[in-house]
Amino acid sequence: MAILLDHTFQIVALGSGMLGLISGVLGTFAVLRKESLLGEGVSHSALPGVVLAFLLTGVRQTEVLLLGAAATGLLAVFFITLIVKYSKLKFDSALALIMSVFFGFGLLLLTHAQRIPTASQAGLSRFIYGQAAALLGRDIHLLLWVSGGILLLVFLFWKEFKVFSFDPEYARVIGIPTVRIHVLLSLLIVTAIIVGLQTVGVVLMSSMLIAPAVAARQWTNRLGTMTLLAALFGIISGVVGTFLSSTLERMPTGPAIVVIATSIALISLLVSPNRGILQGLLKRSRLRKEGI
């Protein structure tokens, strides 16, 4: 427990907590818009970008690597959109296709890069499963600034995001610039994914968007409350996951965080009132008894 007082741990936990917070907030919109799979595509497709950025520049600063991540992540989304628009493939097939190609290419590049001596120092492999302990002070700074920006924008465009997520056609009818709102919301989600890659990793980052939001939906019928709850669940997952990964040897942060987040989601799905599975079963058996 002494680790809780450790300054390095506190800083890292602050970063993971913040990441959990923005993942929860944006995940709420991603889940309600049924676009959470897009996050899966972006995060997996970010891997080749990270490695390419390093190979091309030889720099291992996080900002540079994340820019590379954003570039290939967005490129993948662009390809998916093109395929859906110009072929008979549906969104899920296009996503699976592009995502596996990009991720496979990323692994290939990573294997190649690992042979370069400076690459292991750059710690590129941390981007696969995430390693919060590798976060530097300045990484946390970046994370905090970006998170602050994201939260401010969500606050400012709250009603636009809300009506657009509920009924996009209606939003357009009442004069909301829906194309711009859609682009802004997607950019925020992509940004959250990209800044989370170091901590959670490309493989599991999308769970960080989905799980807290799914859990939160079980407990409330109001968007505001759902967003706050998702943020809270995100923070808990981030901090507890980081704690687990710091105390257990060779435990990457991503899986630790995601196990916590999905546990919260699972418990919520089971026991929440009104929407919970157990509640539903109980109600059904009661009805059946009364029927007989």
């Binding site: 009603k159 009506v163 509920f166 009924d167 056609e169 209606y170 009818v173 004069g175 968007l223």
Partner: protein
């Protein structure tokens, strides 16, 4: 004065025409029904008026501007499991008026409450929307349109699958809007109630079959033509 004016409108999905060469004027302060068989392009016509679909050809002119239109979509078109309450949905009708960065406050809440009252749904204000019946959902949508305080009201099948009580409430409200000088355009499916409820009718089957006062246009011959017309065009 015409509330809407459509010139030479053609709309197609995947090169299959849904609306073909439509010329249409609806005067102000009419309560108009759009009638036609399934797939006749009724919803597409409404969406063209709203600027939601891009025409292949032609123009749509709305008296005033686009902001003056209130819209009641088909109830099946939204995610009813969305975490929001009836009152909340009605408040969305004010979002367009608020402008960026402004949040709905007490004034909007009061107005939304009043609109819920008008459709007889004030008791359900804090209900999650999936816990409402089909007719109640329809009334909430109507209240949201009322909150928009528009000049033209476009409703897509507002009476589909609702009970008699809801139908009466909705029709009474629409007639009230007309009395206030608003133009109300309704996609309608029940031929039996057209004469009792509407004073203007648009007969549509990809092409325009008839457009005018109910007593002139809602004739047996016209209806036969609307429902039996060979829909192949070109």
């Amino acid at each position: 004065m015409n509330a809407i004016e459509i010139k030479d409108l053609t709309v197609a999905y995947d090169s299959k025409p849904v609306l073909w060469d439509i010329e249409l004027k609806i005067p102000q302060s009419k309560l108009a029904a759009i009638i036609g068989p399934n797939g006749a392009g009724k919803t597409t016509l409404v969406k063209s008026l709203l600027g939601l679909v891009k025409p292949v050809m032609g123009q749509v002119e709305i008296m005033g501007n686009q902001q003056k239109i209130a819209y009641v979509p088909q109830t099946a078109s939204v995610d009813w499991d969305f975490p929001t309450t009836a009152l909340d949905v009605v408040m969305m009708g004010r979002y367009g008026h608020l402008g960026f960065f402004k949040r709905p406050g007490k004034k909007e809440k009061a107005l939304a409450g009043k609109c819920l009252e008008k459709v007889g749904m004030e008791a359900f204000a804090s209900r999650q929307i999936s816990q409402l019946s089909g007719g109640q959902q329809q009334r909430v949508f109507l209240a949201r349109a009322l909150a928009q305080d528009a000049e033209i009201y476009l409703l897509d099948e507002p009476l589909k699958g609702v009970d008699a009580k809801t139908e009466a409430v909705i029709m009474e409200l629409l007639k009230g809007l007309q009395r206030d000088g608003k133009t109300v355009i309704v996609v309608h499916h029940d031929l039996r109630t057209v004469e009792a409820n509407f004073d203007w009718v648009v007969l549509l089957n990809t092409q325009l079959v008839g457009n005018g006062p109910v007593k002139d246009i809602f004739t047996k011959e016209n209806l036969e033509q609307t429902y039996q017309m060979d829909r192949k065009v070109g």
